[in-house]
């Protein structure tokens, strides 16, 4: 609102309130892809005719002029100034004008309106915040399992999504690893990553409306107890209409392994299995204590060859897991697979038995693959065969009922090396028990996403 004192041609001084310039901007939220409209209303309540009234509009940064309108006079672009001229403004009448621009840069945009009428020269500034874009960003975090052992390497998935309404550029993800955790890797690895302590910052690039991108972060968790993994997404000069989903926190519980409860022993020597191309060896995990344990592991150290069916890694040492409880005095035989290029036995590795909390990896999601052959083997195991794309990874889930409501994930995932994959369920460590030890077992093959 302008309150001006005017001097009429006759030299009469008027009260300031008798010439008003109303300025209204729309929309309320302006981004680089939207137009900003200035609606101007100049009101003469001086009691006489005003002539040669001028309104100048000057911006503090470059804008693109979209349109202008001045039915009461003319509009011209003079240099970088938009000039509205009203030759005559009768008493009690309004001059309605408009100016539409598109901002070219984010930040605060100031439009300085200068009103010139006779000896009047008054300036007022209208400031609008300009955003790069308006986008409802969201982030979700999915850990592999909620219960880990100190030193475990674990991978969690950070998914950043944009629900619009506009493309979100320059998205930044800030990820806080648990205290004392060690960052190992991120996939995809082609974006710059900044690691400060346990704070990981990386860019998610530009996300179009309705799209998402997933990052897999691998870390080594080291602190016993409840560990928080959190992440939030943001963007410079980004307006998010629903900021509530910009951050996520997940809880990971870590326990120390009990290394003096279980025992592990080699049941037999290594033998070559032509069905898999791998060397195999049976290791018995025994619970000699008087109390049951929730789960067990055999951790390998000083292993000269690749532990092919490792279910995970703890502090650089691969392990296989028994994903069920072991009662007092109970034993479980775990069939270990090694990839040995010579296809001959090598010196037995050093093994250690750990009692650990139940290790229940989350069931995967993805495209279900039909299997083409299922055959019971003389060993009691079950061979599943399915068509595959070489190089792609596949998960096997299994359960005791068809709806798969309580399905578990077999460990580890399989990477196809041929156009058909044969996977054999011989019980632990791939599955909780041998298939011939359970009343029923159903399988589902899922192509990893």
């Amino acid at each position: 609102m302008w309150l001006l004192a005017l001097v009429l041609l006759g030299g009469i001084e008027l009260p300031a309130a008798q010439l008003n310039l109303g300025i209204r901007t729309s929309p309320a939220l302006v981004t680089l892809s939207t137009n900003l409209t200035y609606s101007l209303t100049l009101t003469n309540s001086s009691g006489g005719l005003l002539t040669n009234v001028v309104v100048n509009s000057t911006f503090n940064s470059a804008v693109e002029l979209v349109s202008t309108n001045n039915p009461s006079g003319s509009v011209a672009l003079e240099g970088s100034v938009v000039v509205f001229r009203i030759p005559q403004l009768p008493n009690t009448s309004n001059a309605v004008m408009s100016l539409v621009i598109q901002p070219l840069s984010a930040g605060l945009l100031t439009n300085s309106f200068q009103l010139l009428a006779l000896n009047i020269n008054e300036v007022t500034n209208t400031v609008n915040a300009i955003f790069l874009a308006e986008a409802n960003l969201g982030v979700s975090l999915l850990t592999e399992t909620n219960t880990l052992v100190t030193g475990d390497w674990t991978e969690y998935r950070l998914t950043v999504a944009n629900a619009g309404p506009e493309t979100a550029p320059q998205i930044v993800v800030t990820n806080f690893l648990p205290t004392a955790a060690q960052f190992l890797s991120i996939t995809p690895s082609n974006q710059p990553v900044t690691l400060t302590g346990t704070q990981l910052v990386f860019t998610a690039g530009s996300l179009a409306l309705g799209s998402n991108v997933t990052f897999k972060v691998r870390m080594q968790a080291n602190t016993v107890g409840s560990n928080l993994v959190s992440a939030h997404v943001s963007g410079p000069d980004l307006s998010d209409p629903f900021p509530g989903n910009d951050a996520v926190t997940n809880l990971v519980v870590l326990a120390n392994p009990q290394t003096n409860v279980l025992s592990a022993a080699f049941v037999a020597g290594q033998s070559f299995n032509p069905q898999t191309g791998l060397m195999e060896q049976l290791i018995r995990l025994t619970n000699p204590s008087a109390v049951a344990v929730s789960g067990g592991r055999i951790v390998f150290s000083e292993i000269g060859e690749q532990l092919f069916n490792a279910g995970g890694t703890n502090n650089r040492q691969p392990f296989v897991a028994l994903t069920r409880s072991l009662a007092a005095g109970e034993s479980a035989d775990l069939l270990i697979e090694y990839f040995v290029p010579t296809r001959t036995a090598f010196p037995n590795p050093t093994i250690e038995a750990w009692a650990v909390p139940a290790f229940v990896p989350r069931a995967p999601t993805g495209v279900v693959v039909n299997f083409s052959q299922a055959k019971r083997l003389p060993t009691g195991g079950l061979l599943l065969e399915f068509p595959a794309a070489p190089g792609r990874a596949y998960h096997i889930t299994y359960g005791d009922r068809v709806p798969f409501t309580n399905a578990l994930r077999a460990l580890p995932a399989i990477t196809a090396t041929a156009d058909r994959v044969q996977w054999i369920d011989e019980g632990p460590p791939k599955t909780s028990r041998r298939p011939d030890e359970v009343p029923a077992r159903f399988y589902r093959i899922i192509e990893a996403d």
Binding site: F272, G277, T342, R343, S372, T417, A418, D419
Partner: protein, 352 residues
Amino acid sequence: MNQPRTHQFPLRGCLCGAAGLLLCSTAAQAQENPSWTKRFRLGLVAGINLEAEFSLGGAFGVSGVDPGLPGIGGVNHTYDDGYVRLDDTGNAGGSTSNWGYQDSSQYDPTAESLTFRGTTSFSQAGSTATATDEPYYGLDLAYGGRLMQAAGGVLGWEFGFMFLPATFQDREPHQVTAQRVVHRFSTAGIVLPQAPYNGGTSGVGPVIGDVAEELSGETTTGVLTGSRTVEANVMDFRLGPNLQWHLGGRWAASVGGGFALGLVTGDYSFDESIAYESGGTASNSGEFSSTELVYGGYAEALVYFRAEENSEIYVGARYVSMGDVTFSGGGREARLKLGHGLYLAAGIHWIF
């Protein structure tokens, strides 16, 4: 109205096109200025009466099949219906993950073995097929000059060049007799993946023995299908006299003839498959190239329409007779017959 002009840029008006020439000249006449002594023409040509005769006879090798030696391990074997090759372990322990087969009939569950067949050669009694895809389109150029007045017209000379790409394809099926080696590999101890299966080099997955046991070879009949193709570029160079007459108004005509030299270069390629009556297929592909010089003679007749003062539109026909060009190799032959080529030409003729 005829305004004599001594010199013109020879390609003047070439961007106008034939229609443009017709529109922009109203005063041109067919009778040319006696001081103009050179002529040049540029046009398109369509060739007919060109064909290739494909001959196939004798014994032929088969590409892509290398059965390898039986009785020893650590070598690659490639068959019509699969492969047994080295894997990343170098076939450690005498077995490999790098194998594949195509059909369940190759598997003998009793003997726990897979049988592979590889075509080493095939023979064909001899056949001939003619192929053409005319008309073939190309480019025609000629440059000439005036020698003297003769026979009521102008006697001149002409040097011409033609470039004509031409493709000939024979898709005739043939009955063939093939020699196949038969090898057998042990699959003991594994549940065979269903066919077709293509294993990889990683060393992981079901492995089979890598030593081929040689069984009695087979002589079997089949049908050879697919194609044999010659892609040739025919270039001819012509030199000879011609005689041109003014027919009245804007019209003129010429006849000429002389010596023709042909340069033919091209590729013979084959992409074939043998479907055996006993089942199974073998693939065979390859190519070879040839370049050959031939010679002969030509005769031509052209009609001209004066569109502009020194530019004409021409149409005509040329008969060129040259020797045959032969593409041959490994018992295959394609004879490109250029003895009765007829070429219809049209374009623009400049006199300067």
